[in-house]
């Protein structure tokens, strides 16, 4: 187990190195100049001297590999550099946006589970009946709807028409997170519900279910004590990946709801060609995604006694 975790950690480091190099190369090659973007912010005509001076101050006049090497050297010591546009350390800037993203991600996942698991199990239990059709139709609509549109509709109905929710408070709190989280949860649940339905249906066809019935167990006990725990395993993978993805921030929803999170920060970093901030964000997003993936792998053997004991399913 320790060896496996060690191997995974080495893989993670190599991948992170690759991700940062690719991101650095892409931002370097992409058309765009952070200096021009910084100076464009203001309505001022700027001389070439100031442009050159600013470029020098930001270290952008150095060769590509020198820039990357310098960034990497600092990153290894935990220093992700200064954001060009924010004029503050990247780590501080990300730390400011992180609570928003964490709260949105956690709330979205909890709401998503509250919707998707009951709905998915019901759809499986009532497979090919009217309830299943309705749930599948709703999930189809959920998958097809663009999140920004759903967000705007929710804002219009709950924020503007009913006055039940704040429209744009721009502060992180449980009350304020509800609408953006519902928007995310509905979209995620629409996909997740189908997965739940599928794995529960699969489990329902297995022989141990017949065995349990033969022993006279109630249907509810079979469903929740046997089918559901078995179905959880593949679902945890998807759940983990969704959470990892959410931790990288959800730009569209964050923009619509003026929610201060990493996604909104990343969009601003891209617009401003703020390379250090973008690098920091990509590093974080990759790290979050891969760490959670690793945790899921490790948790498999803890959750599934068959894997833990080296047995076969």
């Amino acid at each position: 187990m320790v060896v496996r975790i060690g191997k995974r950690l080495v893989q993670l480091l190599i991948t992170l190195l690759g991700v940062t190099f690719i991101t650095f190369s892409l931002t370097y090659m992409a058309p765009g100049d952070p200096v021009a973007m910084l100076l464009e912010t203001g309505d001022t005509i700027i001389s070439q001297d100031v442009v050159e001076q600013t470029r020098h101050e930001l270290g952008l006049d150095r060769p590509f590999l020198v820039q990357y090497g310098s960034w990497l050297g600092h990153a290894l010591t935990g220093d992700l550099g200064m954001s060009y546009s924010a004029k503050k350390p990247v780590v501080d800037k990300m730390a400011e946006a992180f609570p928003g993203t964490l709260l949105l991600a956690t709330t979205s996942i909890v709401l998503m589970l509250l919707i998707a698991i009951p709905a998915g199990v019901m759809a499986a239990v009532y497979c090919n009946r009217w309830l299943d059709y309705i749930l599948r139709a709703v999930s189809f609509i959920g998958i097809s709807m663009p999140t920004f549109w759903l967000g705007l509709v929710l804002l219009y109905v709950f924020g503007y028409k009913l006055g039940m929710a704040p429209i744009a408070t721009a502060t992180v709190s449980l009350a304020n997170v509800m609408l953006p989280a519902i928007t995310m949860a509905f979209t995620l649940a629409s996909k997740y519900m189908r997965q739940v339905r599928l794995v529960v249906l699969e489990e329902m066809n297995k022989e141990y279910v017949i065995g349990a019935r033969a022993r006279g167990m109630t249907e509810r006990a079979i469903l929740w004590r046997h089918i559901f725990p078995n179905a959880c395993l593949p679902l945890i993978t998807i759940l983990g990946l969704s959470f990892g993805w959410l931790l990288g921030g959800v730009a569209v929803v964050e923009m619509v709801f003026a929610w201060p999170g990493l996604g909104k920060m990343a969009v601003q970093a891209i617009t401003m060609r703020d390379y250090p901030l973008l690098q920091g964000f990509v590093l974080w997003a990759a790290l979050a995604y891969m760490s959670i993936n690793m945790l899921i792998d490790v948790s498999y053997s803890l959750l599934d006694p068959r894997l833990r004991k080296g047995g076969h399913s």
Partner: protein, 533 residues
Amino acid sequence: MMKYGMHRMIGKKKTLRRWVVGGLAALACVGMLAGCGGSRSGNPDVLKVGVTNFADTLEPTENYFAWVVMRYGIGEALAKFDKEMKPVPWLAKEWSVSKDHMTWTFIIDEKATFSNGKPVTAEAVKASIERVFAKSNRANTFFTYDTIQADGQTLTIHTTTPVPNMPGLLADPLFLIVDVQAEKDGRNFAKEGPIATGPYRVVSFSRDKAVVEANPNYWQGKVPFKTIEIPSIDDPNTRAMALQSGEVDMAVNIGPGELPMFKENSAYKVHEIDSLRVVVARLNQRGIFKDPNVRAALISATDRKSYADVLLKGTFSPGKAPIPPSLDFGFNELTDPNSYNPERAKQLLAEAGWKDTDGDGILDKDGKPLHADFVIYNSRAELPIFAEGVQADARKVGMDISIKTVDYNLIDKIGIDGDYDLLISNIVTANTGDPQMFLKWYWGTNINGSNPQNGSGYSNPTYDAKLAEMAASFDPTKRRRLAIELQQILLDDSAALFLGYPKTNIVNAGYLDNVEMFPSDYYWITSDIAYRK
């Protein structure tokens, strides 16, 4: 097997009912939780303003963050721009200049105080200006100085070169006056906000939301609101909805889609003004547009009023001249020889020898079609709309225009290299109230990069002579006259196609008084804004 299992389960209707009830209860809980945050503005002590913010800190010398310090009513400068972009007294109550325009004397208003109660002396102003020069590399682009002297309330600046418009330069937010001593005593301007002289002072600030409170020591009297909350709402739809719901009392830059709705509703007041920007299609004078008749024909063919009023729903004013009507540089005195007239355009092209010999609707000459490439970028939403309007109008007079979209960041280089027939630009004309640099950079004869933005090859000795005369002149009346003459030359030469001037807006709920809009976009929150009594 599956059917059997399901059959038994379906039989449990009670279970289904429980599920449905449970689901509805969960939704209700979610709704209640969501309801916890609902708020309506209405507290007479609190004003809420929806904005878009680009600043991460309130350190005025970093990037353009000083704009935000000024917009939020925290900082003030020696002078401010009036509605015609003329500098008028603010912290300085008067000023004068020596004959050689190298010594400027400002008298600081003795009533002025910082938010910590300390008086604003000439010494404090000197320290503040020196701080700007020490910290910002942009300061030198405004002016350079030999010495700054302070004596009581009298500040004297000796510049290295003659400066015709020092009050306009010092009105830029970069030069807003801060208490440098407070910083030396430990205040972190970036995190806590500067100690300045505005009606409000910082309570908390992040890129996403600022809270300011009344400055108890405000030198111009009592401040109307105890607190102002300023959320940054980037999405224009959300910003408009926040205003409609009453969550904010005023909002800056409502989008074209929502603006008519507020205009039609008497519960809101819409303040709209032409900004300092112009959207222009630069015309390369070397290729197809070398012939002045072809340039004039293209300009005559374009219905700029329709672009502004119809295509852009009134969010632009129709274009005519380089400098927008918001600035007092004779917009209404200028005559556009190429005002909209498609018949004249056709006639000009015919006179230039262009005919449709092959009947394809596109004129041709010597076997070559009348074709031009229009280089645009689309990060500003209005630019493709303008370009398509020009394309359609040009087609009506037999001119074929291809639109080539490139990344915004390539535009500058394309402009300098002159690698275009038409090139769209959204340019600021006079951020310090003076258009000399704009008129020179884009149309002054470019010799070895002397005016790098003039990649169009436009060159007119009369124009250059008048530019030189303007540079040597310090009389505002004469400078204004020269600016008008320079513009008229550009219009007569059909030097460029001036498409329109973007308007900016502030919309506020009808219960607020004294909200005002300025072309310079530096003054959003002022001490005048108050609830109607």
